[in-house]
């Protein structure tokens, strides 16, 4: 493991300090926590607070999306480990303006349980809290009997939309309704060329051969659904768009937002080549995305790979929310 860090145990606090000190115009640390809150307090006045968070290692997620028009606060857990309820609760208190607080949680047992406990703490303080559990990763079979699907890169669309709605004055109930309407339309699938190395673990989550890739991996190096030999970008797109189409039934009469997301060690060069192939493939469906982003938005430390998110925009207002201006590090 060769990394630009100090003591592996200090990565999270040092990283959070690095972020807040480099961008004091957007974020600041909540005293005694590894959570960050908007510096622009004025922008939160009278608005519902939007709080997200999760394990660290997905930078710029989540702290990079805190700022006017997007998240109110983000809670940074240990690497690949859900933050604890006390920290989430501190973030809820820091953003609450009497309008209530909405939590954006990714569907991992740890996150769900810790955010739930924080919600319990908040309810003891009479702070109204609602939440959405994002589960956009279609690599995993869905089932009500199991944990269900993971929350991955599509989560940033949720952050963006709810952040814009809250900034424009939506109530807690309206945000809750919006979140639940949006959720089933966001779908993501990934392909990895190499796994992430958690600095505290010191070795990669799995090892692929020099010519091997794996479809369907998660953002914590959770194994995917198939390994095979590396293929050209076009063929990867064929597989991933195929999976999304199976799930969403792509339709030229519908509108879509598209996110090509680098996992941390994949250069933009490759992401743009891949994006070009995605656009070609979507053209075969007579689809031209109404909104598109390409870059490192929900990373997995130093994993090499890409995820592809499609989001069916059922309501033009959602598109306005996506285009609404924000003041953040990472969007």
């Amino acid at each position: 493991m060769k990394k630009i860090i100090n003591d592996p145990h200090d990565v999270v606090p040092e990283m959070v300090d690095g972020m807040t000190r480099s961008y004091p115009q957007y974020i600041e640390k909540i005293e005694g926590t590894e959570a960050v809150v908007r510096s622009d307090k004025e922008s939160m006045k009278g608005k519902v607070g939007i709080v997200s968070g999760g394990g660290s290692g997905h930078e710029p997620t989540h702290a990079g999306y805190v700022g006017k028009g997007m998240l109110s606060a983000a809670v940074c857990g240990q690497i690949f480990t859900s933050p604890t309820p006390d920290q989430i609760y501190a973030a809820i208190k820091a953003v609450n303006q009497g309008q209530g607080v909405f939590l954006v949680v990714k569907n991992y047992s740890g996150d769900v349980m810790n955010f739930d406990m924080a919600k319990d703490l908040a309810s003891m303080d009479d702070i109204p809290v609602k939440e959405i559990v994002v589960d956009d990763d279609i690599a995993v079979e869905n089932s009500t009997y199991t944990q269900g699907r993971r929350g991955v890169a599509g989560t940033i669309f949720m952050h963006k939309i709810l952040g814009a709605a809250a900034q424009q004055g939506a109530s807690l109930d309206e945000i809750d309704e919006l979140a639940h309407k949006v959720l089933p339309n966001i779908k993501t699938i990934a392909v990895a060329l190499s796994a992430a190395t958690n600095p505290e673990v010191g070795k990669p989550g799995f090892v692929l051969k020099e010519d091997e890739i794996e479809y369907g991996v998660g953002i914590h190096s959770e194994p995917g659904y198939r390994r095979e030999k590396i293929k050209p970008s076009k063929a990867l797109v064929e597989e991933l768009v195929g999976k999304l189409n199976d799930e969403m039934k792509l339709d030229s009469n519908k509108k879509y937002a598209c996110l090509v997301n680098g996992m941390g060690a994949t250069p933009l060069m490759e992401q743009y080549v891949f994006a070009n192939d995605v656009l070609n493939k979507l053209e075969e469906f007579n689809i031209k995305p109404s909104f598109m982003k390409v870059g490192n938005y929900m990373t997995s430390i130093d994993m090499a790979g890409i995820s592809l998110t499609l989001f069916e925009i059922k309501d033009d207002k959602w598109l306005d929310y996506l285009n609404y201006p924000v003041e953040t590090i990472g969007w």
Partner: protein, 194 residues
């Protein structure tokens, strides 16, 4: 069968040691079917527990609460709220009983409620639900613990990170069950407790 703040402290220190010794192994168990951090999570938590307990809590309820809060606020992940809830429920229960079996019953109920897992889902619930009755019956043994833990190996995970693997989660011991096994082993090793 009575838990006191002193036996609780001995138990927890033993558990902390066992976790520290096996933290790499626990994380290794968590690698093929999870995210490889269970040992580090538990070790971080139990170090915090040891530190907090060193300030000598006044009574059993305070001791259990101290443990719960330390776990809840330092472990994170899935195991943090689960172990945390377990001790929190024991703390609540301790106002009416100091019987270890009854306390563990409350703990198990808390874990099941918090995580929604049932026996057979390949989680720590499997170990707890197999062993709490043995504690109550006064016949907990190392062998029973081992087989409760090993039983998770052939299960298909339905909750937690391992569930994303479906059928492929078979053939691996559940890391949270292994660490729970340590909790029961150290309970057994704590003199004057069972």
């Amino acid at each position: 069968m009575t838990l006191t703040v002193d036996t609780l402290t001995v138990w927890m220190n033993k558990f902390a040691d066992k976790i520290e010794t096996n933290k790499q192994y626990l994380s290794d168990l968590d690698t093929p079917i999870g995210d490889g951090d269970h040992g580090f999570n538990m070790d971080r938590g139990m170090k915090a527990v040891e530190e907090k307990l060193s300030t000598k809590p006044s009574d059993l309820t305070n001791g259990l609460k101290t443990i719960a809060m330390a776990l809840i606020s330092t472990v994170g992940g899935a195991s943090g709220p689960l172990y945390g809830t377990a001790f929190l429920e024991m703390a609540k229960k301790s106002s009416s009983t100091d019987n270890i079996g009854e306390l563990l019953d409350a703990a198990l109920a808390g874990i099941e409620k918090r995580g929604g897992a049932k026996p057979g889902d390949k989680t720590m619930v499997d170990v707890w639900s197999a062993l709490v009755p043995s504690v109550k019956a006064g016949n907990l043994t190392k062998d029973k613990i081992r087989s409760a833990v090993d039983a998770t190996k052939d299960m298909v995970a339905k909750k937690g990170r391992a569930s994303y693997l479906g059928e492929r989660s078979k053939g691996h011991i559940d890391p949270g069950s292994e660490s729970s096994g340590y909790l029961f082993e150290t309970l057994l090793e704590t003199e004057g407790l069972l």
